[in-house]
C-alpha cells in the first residue's frame, strides 16, 4: 500500500500553481490537506505523475469579510473554521459543522476547498454550503469564475472544475439576525462518513426556507419552500424528492434520510 512514484511541487503563488496544473505532458493533480487524496495515492487508486501542493499559497489561506459575505480561502483547514478566529457571519454554522467533521487529526490538515473539490456526497461542507447558498470561486490560467454550490457539485466525486482549475475561494453569505439553521447527520460512529445528512436554513429576512438532503449517492437534494417545515417531511414526500436516487427505492435508506432531515428541521422549529 505505497503510492506510485510521483513528483511533488510546492509553489508559493497561485499563478505558479496554475501554470504547473496546466501542464499537459504529465498527469498532474492538485493536493491540499491530502485527507482524501492521501489514502487514494496509497491504495493506488490515484496515480499522478506530479502533485502540486497548494497549501503554501498565502492567499488561499486567508479568511476575510467582504461586505455581506465571508470569503474563505480554499486551503483554510476545518480546524481553523472550528476554532473560529474570524468574523463568523453564519450564526455558528461554520464552527459547529467544522467541529463534527471526521476527527481533529483530519480537521488539522483537511481543507474546505479540498473537501468541495473531492465532492464526496457524505461530506459536511458539500451539504452545508449548499444549504447556506455559498458560491465557489474557481481559478484557472484563464482567470476566475464564480459558481453557486448548486451548480458546483454535479454528482458523486463530480464537480464543475475543468482540467487545470482549482477551488480558490468560498463565498458564504451573511445570515440575518433572525436566521435559524439545523444540521443532523446519521453516522455509524463519531467521525465516520454520513449515511444521511439533513441541513436546513430559515432566514426570513432573505426569504430563505431551504432543506438539503445529503449523502444520497448523488448531488445534494435541495428542497426550497415551506412545505417540509410545516410537518411535510414524510417518507412519501421524501420519496418524491429523492426520486432517481437509490435511496428512494431502499425503504431503510429512505427512512433514514427522512429522519435525518426531520431532526434537522426540528432544530429550527424548537
Amino acid at each position: 500500500m505505497k503510492a506510485v512514484d510521483f513528483d511533488y511541487a510546492q509553489p508559493a503563488t497561485l499563478d505558479a500553481a496554475l501554470e504547473l496544473l496546466s501542464r499537459e505532458d504529465v498527469m498532474v493533480r492538485p493536493v491540499a490537506g491530502s485527507q482524501s487524496l492521501g489514502p487514494m495515492l496509497n491504495l493506488r487508486l490515484a496515480q499522478p505523475e506530479l502533485l502540486v501542493d497548494i497549501t503554501r499559497i498565502a492567499e488561499l489561506r486567508t479568511i476575510r469579510r467582504e461586505g455581506d459575505r465571508l470569503v474563505i480561502g480554499a486551503c483554510v483547514t476545518h480546524a481553523r473554521l472550528e476554532d473560529g478566529d474570524y468574523p463568523d457571519v453564519t450564526r455558528g454554522v461554520l464552527p459547529s459543522v467544522a467541529a463534527v467533521i471526521a476527527y481533529r487529526a483530519v480537521r488539522n490538515r483537511g481543507t474546505i476547498g479540498g473537501s468541495l473539490a473531492h465532492a464526496d456526497p457524505a461530506a459536511d461542507w458539500v451539504n452545508v454550503l449548499t444549504a447556506l447558498g455559498a458560491d465557489v470561486v474557481i481559478a484557472g490560467t484563464g482567470g476566475r469564475r464564480s459558481v453557486p454550490m448548486t451548480d458546483f457539485i454535479l454528482g458523486v466525486f463530480e464537480t464543475a472544475l475543468q482540467p487545470g482549475e482549482i477551488v480558490a475561494e468560498i463565498h458564504v453569505p451573511a445570515l440575518s439576525d433572525r436566521a435559524r439553521w439545523g444540521y443532523y447527520k446519521v453516522c455509524r460512529k463519531t467521525g465516520e462518513f454520513s449515511h444521511a445528512t439533513g441541513a436546513v436554513l430559515i432566514d426570513p429576512a432573505r426569504g430563505v426556507q431551504r432543506c438539503v438532503a445529503g449523502a444520497t449517492s448523488g448531488k445534494p437534494v435541495v428542497i426550497d419552500g415551506p412545505a417540509l417545515f410545516a410537518g411535510g417531511c414524510t417518507e412519501a414526500a421524501m420519496a418524491a424528492h429523492l426520486a432517481g436516487s437509490p435511496a428512494a427505492d431502499d425503504p431503510i435508506a429512505l427512512r433514514t434520510h427522512t429522519v435525518a432531515l426531520k431532526r434537522a428541521i426540528a432544530q429550527v422549529m424548537s
Partner: protein
C-alpha cells in the same frame, strides 16, 4: 505441582500489587523495537501478488523480462524443496488441506499469495507486483457456509467428497426431553466474519546468520517455538538451524498465533538470495486476506420447565473455516470448542450438538480472542433470555435458576468440563445490583423524551483457560501443550533473569512475571529481567494463547524461583554458620536470628568466591529450569457476568451504550491493574463484534471492505466506560490461585448487548439474533414487523 498459596496481600510489589508496567517506559515513549523498526544492511522488501478472485485455476503467470530474478512463484519454492502447510486435526474423519505458501496452480480465496516480489523498497516491490500478469480461469465460488454444504456445491478441494473439514457429534439423549419439555424455544443465530485488526499487522524479517549458521526469523508472532516447528516442516530444515525471535509485538489476538505463508516465503527468499528480506502486512492486506474470525451459524433449541429451569439444549452449529486448515490450531478448533462449551456455565442434563467445520473460498479461520466462546456465549445467552421471555421471568432470575451453584464446586458439567471454583450466581446478583436494574426498569416504563428505547441485558460465561494436555488432545489439535518451562537465573550481582518461551505482546509479562518472582525471592522488580519470545534464548513453549501464560509460565516461574530460594537459603545459612533449618529467605536476604546475608552476597559467593560454599552445595548452582502444570489438567475456569444498559433509536437503528458493568472472577490477580486493562481491551473488541465489525462478502467471494472506511471498529466514543467489580475465588489447582483472564473481556459483550437491544425492542415485538447488530439489522427487524402488521 498445584501448590496453593495465599500469598498476595496486594502490598509491595509482589502478587496482588497494582504495579506500573515495566515495559511502558519503552513502549509509551515510542522506543519499542517492532519488525517495522528493524534495519539490516542490504535488506530488501517483499510485496506479494495476491489473488483478486476467490476461486480459480491459474493458467499462466507472466513476469516481465526486466523483473525476472525479482519475482518468485510456487514453482521456484517447490523446486527448492518447500512443502505446503499441513495442519492435521487428530479427530477422526478430518479432511486434510494442503496450503502452499504461494498458490500452486489454484487460488481458493481473495488475497491468497500467488507470487512474491523483491525490491529495495516496498513501493518498488509493489511496482513489480503490479507488472506481474496472472491468468485466472475462474471457478464457481463457495461464499457462504450454508450453501457450501448443499449437494452440488462447488468443491474447494477437488479431491474431497464435500466441503466439510469435519463433522462432530456431541452428546445425545435429547429426544425424550424434546418431546415432553413444557417450554421449547428455538433461534437461528449468526455471527459475522471479522478481522482481528491488531494495531501492528503481521511482519517478518528473515536472514541467514553466517556466524551461527542459522536462519533467523524475526517475526511478529505470539508463538516463536511453534513457528520454528512449522518452518522446519515446510522448509525441510532442522530446527537447530532455525532461530525465531519475536521483537516487540503490537497486539496479536490470535492473528499472530499461527504459521504464516508469508513467513515461509520470507525465510526461503532470504536463504535463496542470501540477504535479509522483510515483509510487513499493510492494513489492506490485513482486511482483505485476513478476514478470518468468528463466523458461526447456529440452529439452536432450548428446553425448559415452567420456571425456566433448563432441561436440555439441542443445536446444530456451522463454522465457516475458510479455505485451509491453519497451523497449528487446525480448521476444527473453533467447531470442536463449540460442541464442548456451548452449555456455558449452566447445570443441565441433556445435550446434543452437531458441528460442521465448513470449507469455503475465504481466508482460513484463526482463533480470535475468546475463540469459539464469543459465538457460543452469543448463542447460549440469547437462549437464556428467550426462555425467560417464554416463562415470564426476569432474565437474571432464569440465570440464577440454572447457573452452577457454589456448593456444587468443583463441578463436572454435561460435557465433562471441570469447573474448578467460584460463585457464578453471585456474579449475576452483583451485576444486577451494580447496573441498578430497577432504575432502568422504571425509566423504561416512563419512556424517553427523545423516543429512544431503553434496554438492559446480561450475559454470563465461564472461560476455560490455560487448557491442559488432555483438553487439547481431545480437540484433536496437532500441538498439545504439556509442562510449561521457565528458567530462573541469579546473576552474579544478585539480580534475576527469567526466561520463558511464551511471548508478551500486551500481556505485561515483563512486569507480572517479575511480580511472581519477587513474591518468592524478594528481589526488587527493577533487578528482574524477563527474556521471552526467542527460540534461541528460552525453553520450548507452545506460546501465548488461550489465556494460559500467567497460569502456565507464571506457575513455572514460581516453581523455578522456589527451587532457587531453597538453594539460596542453604548457601546463606552456611555463610552465616547457621544450621540450614534455622534460616529463612525473606525480603531478598537469608536470615538466621539477627544475622542476614543478601542474595547479592550469596550470588557473589557462588560465582566469584566459590571457596566459601558448603561442600554439599547443589551443583545446579543459581540457575534452574523448572516445568509446571496445574493440579488439574482441565485448565482453570474464570467467569464473569456482563451487564449493559443501552438506548436504541428505533428511527435510525443506532445503539448507544449508557452503562457497562463487568463482574468477574479471575481468581488471585497478580496485578489487578493489568487484569483491568485486559478486561477493558476485551470489552472494546466485544463492542466491535456486537455493533460494528463485519467483513461482507459478495456471491463471488469478494470482500467488500478493504479500508477502515468500510470495516468499522469502535473508537474512543463508542467504547463505554466499563465499571469492573472483582470477585476473588482462588483456583484450587494453580500457583497462588490464579486463573487465565486474557480473553474474557471479549466474550460476553455481543451477548449482553444483544440481550439489551432485544429488551429495548420488546415493546415493538421484534428481536435481533445476528451480530453485528448494525442499524440495518435493527431497522430491518423493525421494518419486518411493520410490513407484517
Amino acid at each position: 505441582m498445584g501448590e496453593v498459596s495465599t500469598a498476595g496481600s496486594g502490598a509491595g510489589s509482589g502478587v496482588g500489587a497494582r504495579v506500573r508496567r515495566k515495559e511502558d517506559d519503552r513502549l509509551l515513549r515510542g522506543r519499542g523495537r517492532f519488525v517495522g523498526d528493524i534495519a539490516l544492511v542490504g535488506m530488501k522488501e517483499l510485496a506479494f501478488v495476491r489473488s483478486p478472485v476467490a476461486h480459480a485455476t491459474i493458467t499462466g503467470i507472466e513476469i516481465p523480462e526486466e523483473h525476472r530474478g525479482a519475482v518468485f512463484t510456487w514453482a521456484d519454492l517447490a523446486a527448492g524443496g518447500v512443502k505446503p502447510i499441513r495442519a492435521v486435526s487428530g479427530l477422526p474423519g478430518f479432511k486434510v488441506s494442503e496450503q502452499p505458501a504461494l498458490a500452486d496452480g489454484k487460488v481458493r480465496f481473495v488475497g491468497e499469495p500467488v507470487a512474491v516480489c523483491v525490491a529495495a523498497t516496498r513501493a518498488e516491490a509493489e511496482d513489480i507486483a503490479a507488472s506481474v500478469f496472472v491468468d485466472y480461469a475462474e471457478l464457481p465460488v463457495n461464499s457462504d457456509m450454508l450453501e457450501a454444504v448443499t449437494p452440488g456445491a462447488p468443491k474447494v478441494h477437488d479431491h474431497w467428497p464435500d466441503n466439510v473439514f469435519l463433522e462432530t457429534n456431541v452428546g445425545g439423549n435429547i429426544a425424550e426431553i424434546a418431546a415432553t419439555a413444557p417450554v421449547k424455544v428455538s433461534r437461528t443465530i449468526r455471527t459475522a466474519r471479522q478481522c482481528m485488526v491488531p494495531l501492528e499487522g503481521k511482519g517478518v524479517v528473515a536472514h541467514w546468520d553466517r556466524h551461527v549458521e542459522q536462519l533467523v526469523l524475526t517475526t511478529s508472532t505470539q508463538m516463536p517455538h511453534i513457528v520454528r516447528a512449522g518452518l522446519s516442516e515446510c522448509l525441510d530444515l532442522d530446527q537447530g538451524l532455525i532461530r525465531v525471535v519475536a521483537p516487540d509485538v503490537g497486539g496479536g489476538f490470535g492473528w499472530k498465533g499461527l504459521l504464516q505463508p508469508e513467513e515461509i516465503v520470507a525465510a526461503w527468499i532470504a536463504m535463496r538470495l542470501d540477504r535479509p528480506v522483510r515483509w510487513t502486512e499493510d492494513r489492506r492486506e490485513h482486511l482483505v486476506a485476513a478476514a478470518n474470525a468468528r463466523e458461526h451459524h447456529y440452529e439452536i433449541t432450548a428446553y425448559a420447565d415452567a420456571r425456566g429451569r433448563l432441561l436440555g439444549i439441542e443445536a446444530d452449529a456451522w463454522v465457516d473455516a475458510g479455505a485451509y486448515s491453519v497451523y497449528p490450531f487446525s480448521a476444527c478448533l473453533e467447531a470442536a470448542q463449540v460442541g464442548s462449551i456451548l452449555p456455558g456455565p449452566y447445570d443441565f442434563a441433556h445435550y446434543r450438538c452437531r458441528t460442521f467445520s465448513v470449507c469455503t473460498n475465504k481466508p482460513p479461520i484463526v482463533p480470535y480472542r475468546g475463540v469459539a466462546r464469543t459465538g457460543v456465549c452469543f448463542a447460549m445467552e440469547q437462549m437464556i433470555d428467550a426462555v425467560a421471555d417464554a416463562v415470564g421471568r426476569e432474565p437474571w432470575q432464569v440465570r440464577l435458576e440454572n447457573l452452577v451453584p457454589p456448593e456444587k464446586m468443583p463441578f463436572d458439567n454435561v460435557t465433562r468440563k471441570h469447573f474448578d471454583s467460584g460463585d457464578y450466581p453471585e456474579s449475576v446478583r452483583r451485576a444486577v445490583a451494580a447496573i441498578e436494574l430497577e432504575g432502568w426498569r422504571a425509566r423504561q416504563k416512563a419512556g424517553e423524551p427523545d423516543g429512544r428505547l431503553i434496554g438492559v441485558g446480561f450475559a454470563t460465561y465461564c472461560e476455560q483457560s490455560a487448557h491442559g494436555t488432555a483438553v487439547y488432545h481431545g480437540w484433536g489439535i496437532p500441538m498439545v501443550p504439556g509442562h510449561e518451562q521457565a528458567q530462573a537465573r541469579i546473576t552474579p550481582d544478585g539480580g534475576l533473569e527469567l526466561r520463558v518461551g511464551v511471548q508478551s505482546h500486551g500481556q505485561s509479562m515483563e512486569t507480572t512475571f517479575a511480580q511472581v518472582a519477587h513474591e518468592v525471592l524478594g528481589i526488587p522488580l527493577e533487578k528482574i529481567k524477563l527474556v521471552h519470545g526467542d527460540t534461541g534464548l528460552t525453553p520450548y513453549s507452545t506460546g501465548t494463547w488461550g489465556s494460559r501464560s500467567m497460569v502456565m509460565a507464571g506457575g513455572a516461574v514460581a516453581t523455578a524461583c522456589r527451587t532457587l530460594a531453597e538453594r539460596l537459603r542453604k548457601i546463606g545459612a552456611h555463610l552465616m554458620q547457621a544450621g540450614p533449618d534455622g534460616a529463612v529467605l525473606e525480603g531478598g536476604s537469608v536470615k538466621a536470628g539477627a544475622a542476614a546475608v543478601t542474595i547479592r552476597e550469596i550470588a557473589h559467593t557462588w560465582y566469584r568466591a566459590p571457596q566459601l560454599l558448603p561442600a554439599d552445595v547443589d551443583r545446579g548452582g543459581l540457575e534452574v529450569t523448572a516445568g509446571y502444570k496445574p493440579g488439574s489438567d482441565h485448565g482453570t475456569f474464570s467467569y464473569a457476568t456482563h451487564a449493559v444498559a443501552v438506548a436504541v433509536d428505533p428511527e435510525i437503528g443506532q445503539v448507544e451504550i449508557l452503562d457497562y458493568v463487568v463482574v468477574e472472577d479471575a481468581g488471585t490477580m497478580v496485578n489487578p491493574m493489568v487484569v483491568d486493562g485486559q478486561i477493558y481491551g476485551g470489552v472494546a473488541q466485544g463492542v466491535g463484534t456486537a455493533l460494528y465489525e463485519r467483513m461482507p462478502y459478495d456471491a463471488e467471494g469478494q470482500p467488500l471492505a478493504s479500508t477502515f472506511a468500510d470495516y468499522l471498529i469502535p473508537g474512543f466514543t463508542e467504547v463505554p466506560h466499563v465499571r469492573i467489580i472483582h470477585m476473588l475465588t482462588p483456583s484450587p489447582y494453580t500457583e497462588f490461585g490464579v486463573k487465565g483472564i486474557g480473553e474474557g473481556g471479549a466474550i460476553a459483550p455481543p451477548a449482553a448487548i444483544c440481550n439489551a437491544i432485544n429488551d429495548a425492542l420488546k415493546p415493538l415485538g421484534v428481536i435481533v439474533t445476528n451480530a453485528p447488530m448494525t442499524p440495518e439489522v435493527i431497522l430491518s427487524a423493525i421494518a419486518g414487523k411493520r410490513g407484517a402488521a
